[in-house]
Symmetry: D2
Subunit: 113 residues, 4 copies
């Protein structure tokens, strides 16, 4: 059900870029720009609409979500960080900021607790 | 080196949200908004600077990249899609748009080939 | 009621930057990045919430909207374009894409008419 | 040289929307989303490139900058705020955070002075 992303897939994403000699363009600043651009293209599916995915172009949503993830993988590669590690560390940090006892059922920022 | 993201980690991200009763807030529209916001926070590290990560706050960059990935995982969950599958399908599609023979060494959009 | 933005105010925004020797940082690429960052900060006011401004931090919303406009003014200055002219030209173009007869009461993109 | 945006132009932008019965869609949340989307389209002109406008599609840049401004005008209308006033107030506030004596010639955030 909740499948992960295999190291084989990470390698394929990086190889895709390497095969095209694109690593020369993939500096961290332009990758960060690219993540923002793809995030906005994903968001465009929700402009002027309700909050669910109903009645929306699910093919486009999947493609744009994939694009955000692909650039995140390339960003991790360019920064030489292990994606699982930084996610794990962020969850630990978020767990301290948002203990269940305070955060349960509300969407406030921790600075407003 | 190029480690993936385990299904165990995907489960932890989803459990983190479930434990806090946050699934009520995590509709696709607000998750797409959140991906854009975190992408902009990552990008802020590169405002008024050069394109490398040198001299930058690497701790903050890792945290913001992790935040983008965390919301992507939650988005995949809300859309009930398998992340590895949509990345694989996108690479196939990009491979057709950007064959090595045409794309090698240039950063043009496929519409400009 | 619908007051404009005076040329005096445009001059003040540019002078603010010039007085601080910030024009060296204000290249078009970093200004475009800055517009995106401020737009995301404005958007953050609407994360996990309803679509109106009710119950929101109107002070922060005004500040972030002002920030987006300030960077747009600086971008217009960096690109050496007259803001009123480009808005007028865009409205003409949009009027052709979205004639009242087709666009009235629907939020579809012109490519879907 | 540094021309402003006339109240007549503000009225035209609002009338364009009103004529198409689009005010029903133009709630603050979706307008904030739209500002972010247009900001990303402007930013796309600078993906994988240098920081100046040289060699870029100046027609597209003007159109996207105009789109950001148009949605800012509609956002000001939806929030019932006067754009010139909020820009003026923001400059006063920024002037306190960034006095010339401290900010001159550096791009640091005021929290790092």
């Amino acid at each position: 059900m909740h499948k992960g992303i295999s190291s084989e897939m990470i390698k394929q994403v990086i190889a895709f870029s390497k095969d095209r000699d694109w690593e020369q363009f993939h500096n961290p600043k332009d990758l960060a720009i690219s993540i923002s651009i793809e995030a906005a293209e994903l968001l465009e599916n929700f402009q002027w609409t309700g909050s669910s995915t109903e009645g929306k172009d699910s093919k486009n949503m999947k493609e744009e979500l994939a694009d955000v993830m692909i650039y995140c993988i390339l960003m991790g590669h360019a920064m030489n960080v292990d994606l699982e590690s930084i996610i794990r560390e962020k969850l630990v940090q978020d767990g301290e900021k948002y203990p269940v006892s305070k955060a349960k059922g509300n969407a406030k920022k921790y600075t407003e607790f």
